[in-house]
């Protein structure tokens, strides 16, 4: 370690780090705890009282189940399209020289557009053009939200593709397509998987854009928002808890994969 911190700086730094993590995690973890509480009033259950009854009651909530199905379909479609388009965008970024910075900003642009404004703008234009609100319109809106993140994830994974690998392949007579299929694609595959999972989760949990673009069949966050404001029933806690758990597991899987890849890369050197 080149930098030597004293004890005080270390304490200050770790304290602020822990405060940050606490602020992020206290609410969802508390909610998760509440979801196992048999009582109607929100509160943490005693260990002996832990129950899954609100999770079991979810099956009877037909509106939630229908919205869940709709959300999964929309998120899958969004993830597939966002990953493919972002791959193209990232490959183009690597090819570009002068327009690089401009292209980077263009792909990132939708990320900076407030969800309310993007949702309102897109839904107005679509409805003026006679397009009925449906799963497709929601996918259109979610795509704009997911693509910038997928793009950054894939771009980061391109760090594994050294120029020299491609130059060597080129010297050996491999076509551009062969270089892509045999060298680039295997090296960035973890990035593509991460981009797919993250796009899925971003779409699955997106509320504001779907709020404007959803048709008669609402997505899960839109239905949840209605229920949250209409006086809470404990099944909301169970649904929220389930969504948080599944989302977290997905991110942890991605993180573990990248850790494993790093370790293998470290061993091979």
């Amino acid at each position: 370690m080149i930098v030597r911190e004293g004890t005080t700086p270390r304490i200050v730094i770790w304290t602020l780090t822990v405060i940050g993590l606490a602020v992020i995690y206290a609410p969802p973890l508390y909610l998760l705890g509440v979801s196992f509480n048999p009582a109607l009033q929100p509160g943490l259950p005693h260990f002996s009282d832990i129950t899954l009854k609100w999770y079991l009651a979810l099956g009877a909530e037909s509106a939630l189940v229908a919205a869940l199905g709709q959300s999964i379909v929309i998120a899958l479609a969004t993830a597939i399209i966002a990953t493919l388009l972002s791959l193209g965008a990232a490959l183009a970024y690597r090819e570009l020289h002068r327009g690089r910075s401009l292209w980077f900003l263009t792909v990132l642009l939708p990320m900076f557009v407030p969800g309310v404004i993007q949702g309102l703008a897109l839904s107005t234009v679509l409805s003026r053009a006679g397009v009925k609100a449906s799963a497709l319109t929601v996918i259109a809106g979610h795509l704009l939200w997911a693509m910038p993140f997928a793009f950054i994830v894939i771009l980061t994974s391109f760090a594994a593709v050294k120029r020299t690998y491609l130059m060597a392949a080129d010297d050996l007579g491999a076509s551009r397509l062969r270089q892509f299929l045999d060298i680039t694609l295997p090296l960035i595959r973890p990035g593509l998987v991460s981009a797919f999972i993250f796009s899925f989760l971003l779409s699955f949990n997106e509320f504001t854009r779907a709020f404007y673009l959803a048709g008669r069949q609402n997505t899960l966050p839109v239905v949840l928002f209605g229920k949250m404001n209409a006086g809470a029933s404990p099944t909301i806690y169970a649904m929220s808890g389930a969504i948080f758990l599944v989302s977290s597991v997905c991110v942890v899987v991605v993180a573990l994969r990248s850790l494993l890849m790093q370790r293998q890369a470290g061993r091979s050197i």
């Binding site: 992020i24 909610l31 900003l105 557009v113 989302s247």
Partner: protein
């Protein structure tokens, strides 16, 4: 060059058709008159919508939005900078990956659910009030904890903190450790080193982090809807309210002003610090 054009055609088409074109139309329509008979616009030039933004205290919502964004971004950086330092300089590789994963999870879980959860923690009968009373610190529930600007800021910090941490982390990766070691050899204490060497070398990350949080908060609505009091507002919520009476030109005028502010900041930030360079690998 030809391959790159082919590759960027599809994503560009999506961004232009679904993203940019509707925004351009919003800007154009914001300069039209409202037709109260059809609840749509009349195709005649008018700046009445912009006049309406200035009246009835709407501009104060703009000010309070910018204030909330500034405050949230500042608080986020105060927490994010040490976190990034801990991840890059203090933690071992395994702990560092764990911290990165812990910070990434909230990115991809529902901000709706996280905002809602704060209600359970901050409410009159929530955990924090209960604990404060049990500890004898207060003898009645604190009312300002929930449905207040305090709750909104807490919810916003929790939602957007990772947007500040990762740019700072990226900029720290670019710092040459030799520079830090040199300052220590020359007798600088930790705080002097941090202030005079590390911080200036990571300004791009600090600014990018500030910008990301600022822009995200400026466009947020859920946290305010869930945690704000009856009078609390933010531009996105104001747009929602205006849309209840289908006053399209006014909603579009508010949107246009917001877009000008947000894009202006992003472009200035990029011109000064080069946002894209943050994501490029060293020595590529």
């Amino acid at each position: 060059m030809k391959t790159s054009v082919l590759l960027l055609a599809a994503p560009l088409a999506v961004i232009l058709a679904l993203g940019l074109a509707p925004l351009v139309l919003v800007v154009v329509w914001s300069f039209c008159a409202w037709d109260s008979a059809t609840y749509w616009i009349k195709p005649e030039f008018s700046v009445a919508a912009y006049g309406a933004v200035l009246e009835a205290g709407r501009w104060s919502v703009f000010l309070s939005t910018l204030g909330k964004a500034f405050l949230t971004a500042s608080i986020c950086l105060v927490i994010a900078y040490p976190t990034a330092y801990a991840m890059y300089f203090l933690a071992g590789r395994r702990l560092s990956v764990l911290l990165a994963a812990l910070l990434t999870i909230p990115f991809f879980t529902s901000y709706l659910i996280r905002s809602f959860s704060w209600r359970l923690l901050l409410g009159r009968t929530g955990v924090i009030n209960t604990l404060l009373q049990q500890a004898g610190i207060t003898d009645a529930p604190l009312d300002w904890l929930l449905f207040s600007d305090f709750a909104v800021i807490v919810g916003l910090v929790a939602s957007y903190l990772p947007f500040a941490t990762f740019p700072v982390l990226l900029s720290m990766r670019r710092v040459d450790p030799i520079a830090l070691a040199a300052s220590r050899d020359l007798g600088a204490g930790f705080w002097t080193m941090a202030r005079t060497v590390l911080l200036p070398l990571t300004y791009s990350g600090v600014f990018a982090g500030f910008l990301f949080v600022f822009v995200m908060v400026a466009g947020s609505s859920t946290e305010v809807q869930m945690l704000g009091g009856a009078g609390a507002s933010i531009v996105s919520v104001m747009i929602n309210d205006v849309m209840r009476v289908a006053n399209f030109p006014l909603a579009f005028a508010i949107s246009t002003l917001m877009l000008v502010i947000v894009f202006g900041l992003v472009l200035i930030g990029d011109a000064i610090f080069g946002l894209s360079s943050l994501f490029e690998e060293r020595g590529q």
